[in-house]
């Protein structure tokens, strides 16, 4: 598997709290993407961070990438009930002619109003 075992499987928090989830990967990648999947929906990209970036922000989201430890994190500040979802990190597989994604096992985040 491309992914390590550090993914926290499930988190339950109250609205307004901040949350951070982590993942580690085993083989070199040029890009780490974070996707969110709400119940009954397909995954949707939240943020993409490249190997030459250490941090990327988008609204309430902050992603970090440490290529030396091959790990990435996603933080959400001031969570809302609508942030309830499964969050996946994904790397590219560098297949010839394109980039299929390799997804981690996901972290389930439940935000209570």
């Amino acid at each position: 598997s491309q992914w390590g075992e550090e993914n926290l499987q499930a988190l339950s928090i109250q609205e307004g709290e901040d949350v951070t989830m982590n993942c580690s990967y085993k083989t070199y990648t040029t890009v780490v993407q974070w996707y969110r999947q709400k119940s009954g929906k397909g995954p949707a990209q939240l943020i993409l961070i490249r190997s030459n970036e250490r941090e990327k922000r988008s609204g309430r989201l902050r992603a970090t990438l440490d290529t030396s430890s091959q790990s990435s994190s996603l933080s959400i500040t001031g969570t809302l009930a609508t942030d309830t979802a499964v969050y996946f990190c994904a790397t590219d597989s560098s297949y010839q002619g394109g980039r299929a994604l390799i997804f981690g096992t996901g972290t389930t985040v439940s935000v209570s109003p």
Partner: protein, 113 residues
């Protein structure tokens, strides 16, 4: 802009039956992916196309699964003689060229009894 559409949304089969899933990618997207997502796991690539050509189908169980994209637009994934282990959500995604972001459809939830 219309997103990726998939049909049917749900399918229930007995073991040994066949089923087909249909995907309409975002207009103009030349790369199309099919993923299998077992319950409580991340999506796993089955096959992907660039235009009408198969780029990689190494993860497709070729004896029972097949996928086509004859005109480089819509795609069909077919399972012959379904097994209980095929129970999963089947996701279609599309992207433009080598861009990293993939756009996912809502998926087809398959239950094989």
């Amino acid at each position: 802009e219309a997103g990726v559409t998939q049909s049917p949304r749900y399918a229930v089969l007995q073991e040994g039956q066949a089923v087909s899933f249909w995907c309409d990618p975002i207009s103009g997207h030349d790369t199309l992916y099919w993923y299998q997502q077992p319950r409580d796991q991340g999506p796993q690539l089955l096959v992907y196309f660039r235009d009408e050509a198969v780029i990689d189908n190494s993860q497709l169980p070729s004896d029972r699964f097949s996928a086509v994209r004859p005109k480089g637009t819509n795609s069909t994934l077919k399972i012959q003689s379904a097994k209980q282990g095929d129970t999963a959500t089947y996701l279609c995604a599309s992207s433009l060229g080598y861009q990293d972001t993939q756009y996912f459809g809502p998926g087809t939830r398959l239950l094989v009894l």
